[in-house]
């Protein structure tokens, strides 16, 4: 317990040190605010509107994240049970994955408008592939002997799925979920860049037009915070669900 607290103090200490050096450097070297605002400049521009933009982005990312993962997992389950579908659809999924989201985003806005749904779909597109690949891997990762054990006792396909395949795949699924948390935010912000009137991507874009660097910084930091919140939430969930595997990242 004690080591846990001291462990947490290290990054906090370094962050505070970094902020102090940043603040001093800006003041002493007289760096213009449009190039690099000091931490206090940034804090000064934070108001309730930033929180509401942050909430919008978080909600878009989270919705895309949830839908992509449900869809990815279902697709993976279908793949694992049908070789022809896997062989036919997997290359298409790879093709989708190699298409840059930035190139697709304008199309999404044309199709779905500048509202909520285009960002959700952008988020989904970017989250879909990791969950699909990892779930397929996880669902196939059962030990051969475990399969033999179920077969010896005449376990049905459904029993093998629910009592063996699905639990075995969970560690793989969760590592994909953790990868997708930051990707989901990327998707939402790219969507907002192309066409939106709210959200952190919108704030970054508009503040860049006005050379309002402190606001830009506040939005960048807020977007990083969104990713952290999602990642932390998934990590907590992972520790609860996959209790038999201790992962020590964050």
């Amino acid at each position: 317990m004690k080591t846990k607290i001291t462990d947490a103090l290290y990054p906090v200490g370094f962050a505070i040190g970094f902020l102090i050096i940043w603040e001093l450097a800006v003041r002493l070297l007289d760096i213009p605010i449009y190039l690099l605002p000091s931490p206090t400049d940034i804090v000064a521009v934070i108001d309730s509107s930033l929180w509401s933009h942050m909430l919008v982005t978080l909600l878009e990312a989270l919705t895309g994240f949830v839908f992509a993962n449900i869809l990815g997992l279902i697709t993976a389950i279908i793949f694992v049970h049908s070789k022809p579908i896997e062989k036919g659809v997997f290359p298409l999924a790879i093709a989708l994955k190699t298409t840059p989201l930035v190139a697709l985003a304008p199309l999404l806005v044309v199709w779905m408008g500048t509202g909520y749904s285009s960002k959700v779909v952008a988020s989904m597109l970017i989250c879909f592939f990791p969950i699909l690949v990892n779930s397929v891997k996880g669902l196939k990762a059962i030990e051969h002997e475990a399969w033999e054990l179920f077969s010896t006792y005449k376990g049905t396909k459904a029993e093998i799925f629910w009592k063996l395949r699905l639990p075995t795949s969970l560690p793989y699924v969760f590592s994909a979920l953790k990868i997708s948390t930051s990707l989901a935010i990327v998707g939402a912000i790219v969507g907002e860049f192309v066409g939106a009137n709210k959200g952190l991507g919108y704030v970054v874009l508009v503040s860049s037009y006005h050379m309002d660097t402190p606001v830009m910084f506040s939005a960048i930091i807020a977007s990083a915070l969104c990713g952290l919140v999602l990642f932390w939430g998934i990590s907590q969930l992972e520790r609860k669900i996959i209790f038999w595997q201790r992962t020590d990242d964050l």
Partner: protein, 274 residues
């Protein structure tokens, strides 16, 4: 009446004489008839014929990779022999149990849930309550009743393997097939579990009558079994069947008996000859 590795042909008459003394006393638990098996072009088993009796502990000994495990998989019906081969279990109330080299426990299930798993899948002969009671009984047999609600990662390797044995016993098997069950354990745990398994086999509390154990330890095979089946290298056939003239029940210290050394020596000779 007994068909052994006929393709090798040597010493066949001597073997037959030895084995009839056993067979006259016992009923057959399982018969393998002319079982060959190929994976594509690779022939793994070559015409294996074998009788294993009730109330018998048999070890299958052979060089690693020779197809010993494959033979067990045939007996488990996980693999089918090539055309012409046959595996016959004459008994009507047959129940098979399997123990692997690794414990193969589900890490998300507690010890008791792992043991109950075979009882709750497939034909589902038991209610939830019955399954739990049977699992508790099996856990007591291996002496781990205090670890009922522990998860596999909280148990040592030896304890995990005992849970795996309990899981096999919970379904009341009459024939227990084991694939190097103690191969991954340290010497101390291995010796302890050797005798624990023998006690379970002898015990009237279990339905166990026949144990077939694959092993690559000559000492282990001699110490534990009534007969040792020596396999030849791939494509594996039965090279020889050696009866073990040690008294039963087997006790700690029987490794010191001349008969033990004699049999070990005999088997060693055959290993060299292979």
């Amino acid at each position: 009446m007994l068909t052994t590795a006929s393709d090798l042909g040597k010493e066949a008459s001597r073997l037959q004489n030895q084995d009839t003394t056993i067979s006259s006393k016992s009923e057959i638990a399982v018969t393998l008839k002319n079982c060959s098996l190929s994976f594509g072009d690779v022939q793994v088993l070559n015409n294996v014929s074998l009788d294993i009796y009730k109330n018998e502990f048999v070890s299958i000994l052979g060089p690693s990779g020779c197809g010993k495990s494959t033979l067990l998989r045939l007996m488990l019906d996980l693999l089918q022999p090539n055309a012409g081969g046959e595996i016959i279990y004459p008994s009507k109330d047959l129940s098979l149990g399997m123990v692997f080299q690794k414990p193969v426990l589900m890490p998300w299930l507690t010890a008791i849930q792992n043991i109950a798993l075979p009882l709750t899948i497939g034909e589902k002969k038991f209610t939830k309550k019955e399954a739990k009671e049977k699992a508790e009984g099996a856990l007591r047999l291996v002496g781990l009743q205090d670890f009922m609600n522990h998860f596999p990662h909280q148990l040592s390797g030896g304890m995990q393997q005992r849970i795996a044995i309990a899981r096999a016993l919970a379904a009341d098997p009459t024939v227990l097939l084991m694939d190097e069950p103690f191969g991954a354990l340290d010497e101390f745990t291995r010796e302890k579990l050797n005798f624990e398994l023998l006690r379970l086999w002898e015990s009237p509390e279990t339905s166990l009558s026949t144990v077939v154990m694959v092993t690559h330890s000559i000492q282990e095979s001699v110490l534990m079994s009534n007969r040792v089946i020596m396999m030849s290298p791939r494509p594996a056939g039965v090279d020889d069947i050696i009866p073990v003239p040690l008294p039963s029940p087997r006790e700690v210290g029987m490794e010191e008996l001349p008969a033990f050394h004699q049999t070990v020596k005999e088997l060693r000779k055959r290993v060299k000859h292979l």
